[in-house]
Amino acid sequence: MALLEVHNINKRFGGLHAVNDVSFSVSENTIKAVIGPNGAGKTTLFNLISRNIEANDGKVFFQNKPIHSLQPYEIAQRGISRTFQNIKLFHGMSALENVMVGCHPKSRAGFLAGILRLPSSLSEEKMIRERAYEFLDLLGIADLAHLEATSLAFGQQRAVEFARALASEPSLLLLDEPAAGLNIYETAKVAKLITKIQQRGITILLVEHDMSLVMDISDEIVVLSFGKKIAEDHPAAIQQNKEVIQIYLGEDDA
């Protein structure tokens, strides 16, 4: 069975049917991309899965368990992590601290342990710090660790967000436009990174407008348009899909 299954999910904003009866599934250890024109409902779909917004109806299963009535933080604890299209870093915290927060679901020390500074929390703290460094390093921004995250350049902020999401060691990673604002070189780096993450056993669901990235790395693609799923197939097939070309890709896309 698939890692993530979305069944007939719906979201309306007033008169706008932003996500219209969408169903799809993501198999373990694959990279799946969601594409579609601007305003098609991709981000909304992500928000529905991560429960940042409430669905009107529909079901979501993760590892065969229903997750459509959990709190957002429970979703994260189950092993779904995400990045945001409009970067949402914790202002007032350094890049390192941002990533350390990412380690939250995989660490235990509670309120009391923190206040009393129990030895267990200390060793855990050390481990978190090391792990956070590791992820910063992986993204190639270890030298920015102590700068305030929100004062970094756009692309650097994206990297921090990426590292933060990875730090929670998710089974499923939702990436909303990870390459937006990156140049071709950096985009390629991200592509490499994503495949590398996948090799570590992490499943990836991805929204991206950069087709060079999407077509390169994804195993399967879902196409949304006006909230509806209009296609789901392998990259090669999608590239040939008339409708997708007409509404999204344009004629002579690479």
Binding site: R82, F90, G114, L116
Partner: protein, 354 residues
């Protein structure tokens, strides 16, 4: 361990000040230093929920008042007339009551201060728990309004309830023996020990909070301050983290209320007033918001000067001026030294650009 270094300096300073006052025979300063210690206890608690977790509370004077009033009420209201009724005698047998003579020779039967203290703080904690749930869902000005409203409610209850002395407040609050030989009391003879009780409490309070803000939970608090949505997406149960911190800070405020009330021997409704809460919030802001040491030092200084009547009739005016000046010229707080951050910032930058 580095974060404990200031604590050690602080401890040394506390002892040093006491010794200096002893040598210079100015021990009377300890009276106001003790009073400001208790206000500072409230302020560092508020600093945690406000500065770190980013949840403004304009109602913390209310928690202070809950602590102070309950403990004062229970330890001053004479149960002698009810000595033979069921509950009272039951409590008496359980050893929860104390009998004493007042200044005028009448016998008083009152609740033991320890019991009163526990009741007072638990009440504050329970109220914070119940209130915190819905209140902390609110944001920004709406949160400010709700906490302000809570403060007003407590103020009004204190003002309107005969048990709490209405406009007069409660006086004649007995001293509070924490342990044999260690008594919270305003007597001149007990001044030094009270100074150490107060600052000892603040130091322990500070220690716990420093631990908290440097822990995983503390980081979660700063995170939800930065972006609640993202914090949730990172698995932080933001509602719970906010609530626990709120409750903790309420407990600090209530404890401060209990101890200061026993120290002063009285409490008045003004302690629950809106202006008090506003003042606490402003002090946290002057201290630099997410800055425990700033809050502690500014809180102690300002309250000390105010309690000494240093500015006479200009107490409020001076406070207002300080507030404005700091917000204009040092919005990060007077005591936020950037030295560390600068060093950290510059170092990796050089590697980066090289």
């Amino acid at each position: 361990m580095r974060q404990y270094f200031p604590l050690c300096i602080f401890l040394a300073l506390v002892v040093l000040i006491q010794l200096v006052t002893q040598i210079t025979e100015t021990a009377f300063y300890l009276t106001q230093l003790t009073m400001s210690a208790y206000y500072s206890l409230l302020i560092i608690g508020l600093c945690t929920i406000m500065g770190y977790a980013g949840q403004i509370s304009l109602g913390h004077a209310g928690f202070f008042a809950i602590g102070g009033y309950l403990s004062a009420g229970l330890t001053t209201h004479n149960l002698q007339p009810f000595a033979d009724t069921g509950i009272t005698s039951l409590l008496d047998k359980a050893g929860l009551l104390v009998s004493s003579k007042d200044l005028y020779g009448d016998t008083l039967l009152t609740v033991h201060p320890w019991i009163a203290c526990i009741v007072a703080i638990s009440t504050a904690v329970i109220i914070a728990l119940v209130l915190g749930g819905p209140v902390l869902k609110l944001k920004g000005h709406y949160l400010a309004m709700a906490t302000l409203g809570f403060g007003i409610i407590i103020f009004r209850i204190a003002m309107a309830t005969p048990y709490f002395g209405e406009a007069d407040g409660l006086s004649g609050v007995p001293s509070f023996t924490l342990l044999p030989g260690i008594t919270v009391s305003g007597d001149f003879g007990a001044r030094i020990i009270n100074y150490y009780i107060a600052w000892g409490t603040v130091l322990i309070g500070m220690l716990l909070l420093i631990n908290l803000v440097n822990s995983r939970m503390g980081r979660a608090l700063s995170a939800l301050h930065g972006s609640e949505e993202a914090a949730q997406a990172m698995g932080v149960n933001t509602a719970r983290a906010k609530l626990l911190t709120f409750v903790l800070s309420a407990a600090y405020a209530a404890l401060a209320g209990v101890l200061l009330t026993h120290y002063n021997g009285s409490i008045g409704p003004g302690e629950a007033g809106v202006m008090k809460s506003v003042r606490y919030v402003a002090i946290v802001a002057i201290g630099g918001m997410a800055h425990l040491w700033g809050a502690l030092i500014i809180g102690t200084l300002l309250n000390f000067m105010s309690m000494r009547g240093l500015f006479g009739s200009y107490d409020d005016a001076v406070f207002g001026i300080i507030l404005i000046l700091i917000m204009l010229f040092a919005p990060q707080g007077l005591l936020r030294l950037h030295i560390w951050k600068h060093i950290q910032k510059i170092k990796p930058k050089k590697h980066g650009t090289a």
